[in-house]
Symmetry: C2
Subunit: 430 residues, 2 copies
C-alpha cells in the first residue's frame, strides 16, 4: 500500500476517533445481556442503515441450525435472539471478501455494589472506558464499523463484499454466528476483534457447559443423616471434576499451541442453587460448570469423560449411588480451533495482510497468543473453511467488575483494521 494512502487512512481514523468513543459509550449503555439485546441491536441496525449498508435483521430459528456442526443445545426458544448483518456490496468485486464479526451480547453485571460506578453507565477515566461489555466486545464491534467509516470518509470503499455482523449468543452458545453461516454469509476471511491485547489469536480452546442436578433425601434437619444433603453432595463431584481438569492439563494431553501456557484448561463452577429452608435438609441442588477442551479434542469423548467423572464420584457416595445425578447439556458445546493449524494459502495471506497492517500502525511485529477461552472464530474456521483472525483491543476485568477497555488501544486496532480491509479487499472509489 502506498505510504500516502496509508497515512490518509490512519488520519481518517484519528479524525473520527472522538465520535468512535462517543458511539462506543452509547452502545455500552445498552444492557445487552442474554435476551436483552434488542435495544443494542436497534442501535447497530440504525447506524448501519444510516451509512447506507443493506441491513438484514432476523430472529434465530433453532430448527434451522439444530442439525449443523457446531450447534450448541439451548433451553427455551430464541424469541429474543436477533442477529444484525450490514452488507457492503462492492461495485468492482476485484478484491477478497471479508466478514467483520462481533458479538452484541454481554455477560451479567453481577452484584451492582461491587462496581465502582453502574455497569451500564459507561464513563471514561484516565484513558480507559469503563462498563459491562465495553471491552467484551463492543469496542471491537465499533472498531469494525469505524474502520469502514474511515475509508468512506476519504471517498473509498472495499473492492469486495464485506459483511458486518453483530451477533447474539456468543457468550453462551455461538449459535448467533452459526445462524449467520446458515443464512449464507460466507467470505474469504473473517476478522473478530475480541479483546486479546492487540495480539493475533493463534488458537482457542473449546468450551463445554453442563448443568448437574442433584437430589437429596429431604427431612427435618433434626434427623439429618450424612450424605443425603443435596448441596453437600455436590462437593465430592466438584472435587472429582477438578481431578479431570488436572488430567487434561497434564503435558501429554496438550495441543501444541498450549505447551507453555500456564494451566490452560480451567474448570469453573459458575452457578449454584439449592434448597429452600435452613432447617430442611435440601432435596435438590443444581450447579453449572464450564470446562475447556483443546483444539482437536473430540467433544463427544470429552463429554463422556465428564459423565464418567461425575458418575464415578457419585457411585462412591453412600447416598448418591442410589440417586445418581442428572446432567443437562445446555449452552456451549464448542470445539477448539487453531488458526495456527490452518495451512491454507488463504490463511497465510490473511495473516500476512494483518501482520503488515499491525506493523504499519505499531512499528512492531504482531504477537501470537493461544487463548484459554473460545470465540465465534470456530464457526468460520472449522465449519466454513474461512480463516478467522481474532485480533482486538486491550481490555481488563472482562466478565468481572469495573470492566474497561483502553482507548488508545481501540484507536490502534481501528487503524490496523482499516489498513487490513484496504489491503485484503482492495479499494474502490465510492
Amino acid at each position: 500500500m502506498d505510504q500516502e494512502l496509508q497515512t490518509r487512512i490512519l488520519s481518517a481514523v484519528d479524525d473520527a476517533f472522538d465520535d468512535e468513543i462517543a458511539f462506543l459509550s452509547e452502545l455500552t449503555a445498552h444492557p445487552s445481556t442474554r435476551g436483552q439485546e434488542q435495544g443494542a441491536q436497534d442501535f447497530m441496525a440504525g447506524a448501519l442503515t444510516e451509512r447506507g449498508y443493506e441491513v438484514d435483521r432476523w430472529q434465530i430459528e433453532v430448527e434451522k441450525i439444530r442439525h449443523l456442526p457446531g450447534f450448541s443445545p439451548v433451553i427455551g426458544d430464541y424469541e429474543d435472539a436477533v442477529n444484525v448483518v450490514g452488507s457492503h456490496r462492492s461495485a468492482s468485486r476485484k478484491g477478497r471478501s471479508l466478514i467483520l464479526n462481533g458479538h452484541i451480547d454481554v455477560v451479567p453485571a453481577g452484584p451492582l455494589d461491587m462496581w465502582d460506578r453502574p455497569p451500564f453507565e459507561p464513563h471514561v477515566d484516565d484513558g480507559w472506558l469503563y462498563g459491562r461489555g465495553a471491552g467484551d466486545m463492543k469496542a471491537g464491534l465499533v472498531s469494525n464499523l469505524f474502520a469502514l467509516d474511515a475509508l468512506r470518509s476519504i471517498g473509498l470503499a472495499p473492492a469486495a463484499d464485506v459483511f458486518f455482523q453483530s451477533v447474539v449468543e456468543e457468550e453462551c452458545t455461538g449459535n448467533g454466528a452459526l445462524a449467520c453461516l446458515e443464512r449464507g454469509y460466507t467470505a474469504e476471511a473473517a476478522l473478530i476483534p475480541e479483546p486479546f491485547e492487540e495480539k493475533l489469536v493463534s488458537a482457542q480452546l473449546g468450551v463445554i457447559w453442563a448443568q448437574v442436578h442433584l437430589k437429596g433425601l429431604p427431612t427435618h434437619v433434626a434427623y439429618a443423616g450424612s450424605g443425603a444433603n443435596a448441596i453437600e453432595a455436590a462437593i465430592p463431584l466438584i472435587a472429582a471434576l477438578h481431578g479431570l481438569e488436572e488430567r487434561w492439563n497434564a503435558p501429554g494431553c496438550r495441543h501444541s499451541e498450549y505447551g507453555h501456557v500456564h494451566h490452560p484448561i480451567n474448570l469453573n463452577i459458575g452457578k449454584i442453587q439449592g434448597g429452600d429452608w435452613a432447617s430442611s435438609v435440601p432435596a435438590w441442588c443444581v450447579f453449572d460448570m464450564r470446562i475447556a477442551i483443546y483444539p482437536g479434542q473430540d467433544i463427544e469423548a470429552a463429554k463422556a469423560e465428564i459423565v464418567d467423572t461425575i458418575m464415578e464420584a457419585a457411585r462412591s457416595n453412600a447416598f448418591l449411588k442410589h440417586s445418581l445425578p442428572e446432567i443437562v447439556w445446555h449452552g456451549f458445546m464448542a470445539e477448539g480451533y487453531a488458526l495456527a493449524d490452518d495451512r491454507s494459502e488463504t490463511a497465510a495471506a490473511a495473516i500476512g495482510s494483518l501482520d503488515a497492517a499491525h506493523v504499519a500502525v505499531n512499528g512492531s511485529a504482531l504477537d501470537r497468543l493461544a487463548i484459554t477461552a473460545t470465540t465465534d472464530a470456530r464457526f468460520f474456521g472449522l465449519y466454513a473453511d474461512t480463516p478467522a483472525l481474532v485480533y482486538g483491543p486491550r481490555a481488563e476485568a472482562i466478565h468481572g467488575f469495573n470492566e474497561r477497555v483502553e482507548l488508545e488501544s481501540i484507536r490502534r486496532i481501528t487503524q490496523s483494521t482499516a489498513l487490513f480491509i484496504a489491503d485484503w479487499c482492495g479499494l474502490e472509489t465510492i
Copy 2:
C-alpha cells in the same frame, strides 16, 4: 377423674373424629408457608368465632418484641405475620389456666415433582393423612380445638381460662409465640402437640440460623486462578463447621438429656445460591446454615464459636483471608429448653396430669423423648415460668416429601388432651 366422665369424654372425641379429620384436611389445603398464612388463619379464626371463643387477631410488631429475651432477628417487616388467639373465659375459675399452642406456618414444599401427590391437596390413604404441614403441625392445632369441642359436646367447659393459640413464625424464629407472651397471654401450663410420636418431650435443643456471604474475585474463567471462586470458597467453611458440629457432639459437651442420643447436634447447609454465569468466576455465594445447641448452652458463646470457626477457616484460605465472609444472623436465635430441668411443683403436677391422661387412653406409660429440634415451648418454659408440655401425634417426613400424619394417633392425642384439660383445668357446666 371418675370413670364414667372419662368414658363420656373419650366417646365425645370418637363421635366427632370424622369431622376432625375433615377439618384437618381443609386446614392442610391452605398453603400456609411463611408470609402466606392469612388464609389458614382466617379459617382458624372463623372456626373459633363459630364456637363462641373471644377471638384476638393481630399483626406482630417487631418493635414490641425486639427487646424481649428469646427474640430472633428478622429481615424485613412482619406485615403478613398475623397471630390468632381464641380465649375461653371460665365462669367459675376454680381450676388451673392453660395455653393450647400450635403453629400455623409450614415449611416450603420443595420441588413438586418429588411429591407423589400435590402437597396442598391433602388425602387420606391407609390410615394416614398426607400433605405439607399435616403433621407439622396442623394435626396438633386441630387436636387442641377438637379436644375442647369434645368437652363442649357433652355440656362441659374448662373451669379455668384457656387460651387457644394459632401462631406464625414457629419454623423460622418463634416470634409468633413470643408476641403472644408480649400481648399478655400467660397461664399455669402450656400444651403444644408437636408431632413427636405421642411421647412427652423432656428436652429440646436450641437452634441458630446464620447466613454466610462470600465474595469472590470475578474474572473471565479463561483466567480462573485458584481460590477466587466464591462458590468453591464455601467448601472449606462448610468442612470447618462440620468440625464444630463434631466437637459439640462430643460426650463431654452434652446436656444430660442427650447422653444417649445419636448425634444430637446437627449442622445443616439448607440453602445455597451463587454466581450468575457458567463462564464467569462467581463473585458471590450465600449459604444458609442451621446448627443446634444444648439446653443451657450460652447462645452468645455459641455464636462466637460459629464466627471463630468460619473466620479461622477463611483465614487459612489464600483468597478469603483478604476478603473475609460476612455473617448475617437472621432467623432462629433459640435457646435450648429442658422440661426435665423444671423442678417446680407446677411442672410436676402438669406432667403428672398428662401422664395419667395418656395412661387412660393408651393403657401404657407416657414415654419421654429428648428431641433434636426446637419448638415454641422454650418461650413458655424459659421466659414465662410456665411448664410447656410438648406432646403430639405420630407423623413422618416432616420437612420432607409425602409428609403424613397417622389418623389413629391424632385420635389418641385428642383424647389424651381432652382428659388432660378436664383434669388440669377442672370442668364446669356450660
